[in-house]
């Protein structure tokens, strides 16, 4: 995999992995999350890198910190909200510094393509006082990881690479390089560096402040912060993908292209500000650069024009700044008029093991605290079976809080639903809290034996590691029992009768109880259920609409007669609809289809 000098077409994520490999990184750990997931998947393909899926972002962060202390150049990568989970070790690693390089990737999601919020993690750099790079294409993503490794060891600090969905998931041409052989570094006991007792941390904080001044000098002369001379009238300061969009709209303006965005290159900026008439800051979400510009006492156009919500693109930038004659107008598009175009939101797949659970919870009219995973779709029509979704792990503790507020009014109706990956990520502590504090809601763990939502990453319930090696399978039943839940029942979510009975029994239980639904995600290649053909006798269909409550994309209402039809291009013969069809119009064969 050397191919020095060769060019490849890589996504930002692939380029980050390639940069890590070239920079001699030996260890990587992460918990999946869109848009950062593929970084670890690509890293896992390099024989020289020991890459692993962690149980959550905090354990990943702590593991890479340990590896960096012990002399292995390391990297971790998480989506923006993942860094919240890992924030505790993250902040203190800034104090201790490292031994071998540590690179921390945060992949933000402006535009919320696949996230629960739109936080701008550049703010973390300022708060943790860690240097940060913002690539604006795949080539830079690779180059910046290599620069980060160098700076990390030279300045004794972890370094942040901040990408966004449009960088992580866009592809561009990248020139490949060779792998550097990193020198071995010993791990020696050094209490004054690695043991953050208060008196020690006090000194370390002073060190961090000194380091910051030096990093600012570096930022002012960094090759990644550059002035591109152009029209003096317009001076645009920008970073990340916004730079590329701005170039489309203002091809002739002067640019201060920021690649190392913390510490802010104040001197370089002053030089730039003196060169141009108007300073415009173009950035997504928070006024991060804008605050630095204003702190430097320079007037600028920023968030009063450029939207803080959602991602930017050339059209949005043009709309915001079209008063400037220099803005390049788009061609006028022809619009399709006079037609209603139905939206196409994502749905649970045909054959999804989660479907029957939401059907049943809706039927039992439960109050449901939800969590994050494929099953979040249970909040949407036709399931409409969720009352809250906050963050990973919150289902169980949200339910505990609801019980505390509503007491008898909610007992016997309250259910928390959580996927097995999410349960292991941050649900186990909540369940212990529930037991300890005498909650009694039902927790349903949806065990499809994979982290499906983010694209099927193995986890401790899968029996496999990131590298494809066999691993011990967690016993979730035993875990719940050990946490103090006496009533734990496993059930097949395709057995709707048994599922309903089990949930009813659990709801009636005055003690906290857990129901584990066990069936693999239908898309797993290793899952090959037998096919018993499902068919519909349309004469018998009474248009009751029960089957449509399953929300299966393979079931359609024929607009002519209002009766159900099965779309065999999509049906996987899971049999669920046959189980809910009371008049017996939909049936399933008892012999395997040939």
């Amino acid at each position: 995999m050397t191919h020095k000098g060769k060019k490849a077409f890589l996504s930002g994520n692939a380029a980050i992995a390639r940069g890590a490999w070239e920079a001699g990184i030996r260890f990587a750990s992460a918990y999946p999350g869109t848009p950062s997931t593929e970084i670890l998947e690509f890293l896992g393909k390099y024989d020289e890198i020991d890459a692993q899926w962690a149980v959550n972002e905090k354990t990943a962060m702590e593991t890479v910190i340990g590896a960096a202390y012990a002399g292995a150049r390391s990297i971790c990568a998480q989506k923006h909200v993942g860094l919240n989970v890992a924030a505790d070790p993250f902040f203190t690693a800034s104090y201790t510094g490292i031994n071998a390089a540590l690179v921390i990737v945060t992949a933000d999601d402006p535009g919320l393509h696949s996230s629960q919020n739109e936080q701008d993690n550049r703010n973390y750099a300022r708060m943790a006082k860690m240097p940060m790079f913002e690539p604006s294409n795949s080539q830079e993503a690779k180059d910046m990881v290599k620069a980060a490794v160098k700076i990390s060891e030279e300045y004794d600090t972890p370094v942040i690479i901040r990408t966004t969905t449009r960088i992580s998931h866009s592809e561009g041409v990248v020139e490949l390089g060779e792998r550097e052989n990193a020198p071995e570094r010993e791990f020696e006991r050094n209490m004054g560096k690695y043991c953050v007792l208060p008196a020690i941390a006090k000194k370390l904080h002073e060190k961090v402040e000194k380091r910051t001044s030096k990093l600012e000098e570096l930022s002012n002369k960094s090759e990644f912060n550059r002035i591109e001379k152009g029209d003096k009238k317009l001076g645009i300061i920008t970073s990340g993908v916004s730079y590329q969009h701005a170039k489309e709209v203002f091809p002739n303006a002067s640019f201060l292209k920021i690649g190392m965005s913390w510490p802010f290159p104040s001197e370089l900026f002053q030089k730039f500000a003196a060169m141009v008439e108007n300073v415009i800051v173009i950035e997504e979400n928070d006024p991060f650069l804008e605050m630095a510009v204003k702190a430097a006492g320079v007037e600028c156009i920023g968030k009063e024009k450029i939207p803080a919500c959602s991602e930017l693109n050339p059209d949005i930038i043009y709309e915001a700044l079209k008063d400037f004659a220099e803005a390049k107008a788009p061609k006028s598009a022809k619009l399709v008029s006079g037609v209603n175009i139905p939206v196409r939101p994502p749905v649970l797949c045909p054959g999804c093991p989660h479907r029957g659970v939401f059907y049943t919870l809706r039927k039992l009219n439960c109050t449901v605290t939800g969590d994050i995973g494929c099953y979040s779709l249970g909040a949407l029509a036709p399931h409409n079976a969720m009352h809250s979704i906050v963050c990973m792990g919150a289902s169980i503790t949200n339910a505990l809080g609801i019980e505390k507020a509503m007491k008898d009014k909610i007992h016997g109706k309250l259910v928390a639903v959580i996927g097995e990956s999410t349960f292991m990520h941050s649900g186990m502590t909540g369940l212990l809290d529930t037991v300890y504090n005498k909650g009694r809601h039902v927790t349903i763990i949806l065990d499809n034996s994979i982290t499906a939502m983010t694209g099927h990453q193995p986890n401790p319930a899968s029996g496999k590691t990131l590298k494809g090696e066999p691993a011990k399978v967690v016993n979730l039943e035993a875990v719940c029992k050990a946490l103090g839940v006496d009533h734990v029942t496993c059930v097949d979510p395709f057995d709707l009768k048994q599922l309903e009975e089990t949930i009813k029994t659990a709801l009636a239980d005055p003690e906290p109880s857990v129901v584990i639904t066990k069936r693999p995600c239908f898309l797993l290649k290793s899952y090959k259920p037998k096919t018993y053909k499902v068919s519909i006798n349309r004469e018998k269909c009474v248009k009751c609409g029960m089957c449509m409550k399953l929300g299966c994309p393979a079931l359609e209402i024929n607009p002519e007669d209002g009766k159900t039809v099965i779309n065999y291009a999509l049906c996987v013969h899971c049999g669920l609809c046959a189980k809910v069809c009371r008049p017996g119009a939909i049936t399933q064969a008892t012999e395997e289809a040939k």
Binding site: K7, F9, T34, P35, H113, S114, N137, T165, R166, H169, S170, E171, G172, V173, V241, Q244, H245, K247, E248, N313, P314, D315, Y318, P330, K331, S332, A333, K334, L335, V336, S337, V339, N340, I341, P342, V343, R344, P345, P346, V347, L348, C349, C374, L377, A381, P382, G455, L523, M548, G551, P553, L555, E556, I557, P559, G562, N567, A569
Partner: protein, 192 residues
């Protein structure tokens, strides 16, 4: 040198990602700077998906502006009208004649617009509607729909030498599906 912008759209699972990979690869082989952007995430679960592919001498933004796409290559009819506003005034929509009903339509609460090619023409949008899915089924595997459509598209991209398409397919498609996909490309080429 001018920039060529191609917007691919369809429904999760239809194979738009491989198609956009192949276009990008050919454009790179033809010596262009190339950028490509797509959103995965929820895409797998039947949502609407879109890829932007841009190539030329030097490409800045990975995103196509509205009104700037030379071609909108749609894998599904409804998606063709959803994304048509990206087309430039003299651009063309190429759509597969397949219809995949969104949930609201299959559940009977909304209607799937009728006669989409006519809707496009009525709005003065040049379009070609091809039965690529029919061809793919005829070839024995729905999955090669994407490569059938590439065959159709290839006609409209004279700046990419036709040899490059096959070269890319050979490199990017698994060995056991290679024969099928080479046939699919030829079938698409003949459809246009």
């Amino acid at each position: 040198m001018t920039t060529t912008n191609i917007l691919l759209c369809g429904v999760g699972g239809q194979g738009t990602l491989l198609a956009s990979n192949l276009i990008a690869d050919c454009a790179m082989k033809a010596g262009f700077d190339v950028k490509k952007s797509e959103i995965h995430g929820m895409a797998q679960r039947g949502g609407s998906v879109v890829s932007h592919v841009r190539f030329g001498e030097s490409i800045a933004s990975p995103i196509i502006r509205k009104g700037e796409a030379d071609i909108v290559l749609s894998f599904e009819e409804l998606e063709a009208i959803r994304w048509a506003e990206f087309l430039k005034p003299d651009g063309i929509v190429i759509t597969n004649s397949q219809k995949i009903l969104p949930m609201s339509v299959s559940a009977g609460s909304e209607k799937y617009p009728e006669n989409i090619p006519e809707i496009l023409s009525r709005s003065s949008i040049a379009n070609i509607c091809v039965d690529a899915i029919g061809k793919a089924i005829e070839l024995g595997n729905q999955k090669c729909l994407n490569v059938v459509l590439l065959g159709v598209l290839a006609h409209k991209l004279p700046m990419i030498d036709s040899i490059l398409w096959k070269e890319s397919i050979k490199e990017k498609v698994p060995q056991k599906l290679l024969d099928l996909n080479l046939k699919a490309f030829d079938a698409g080429w003949a459809l246009a």
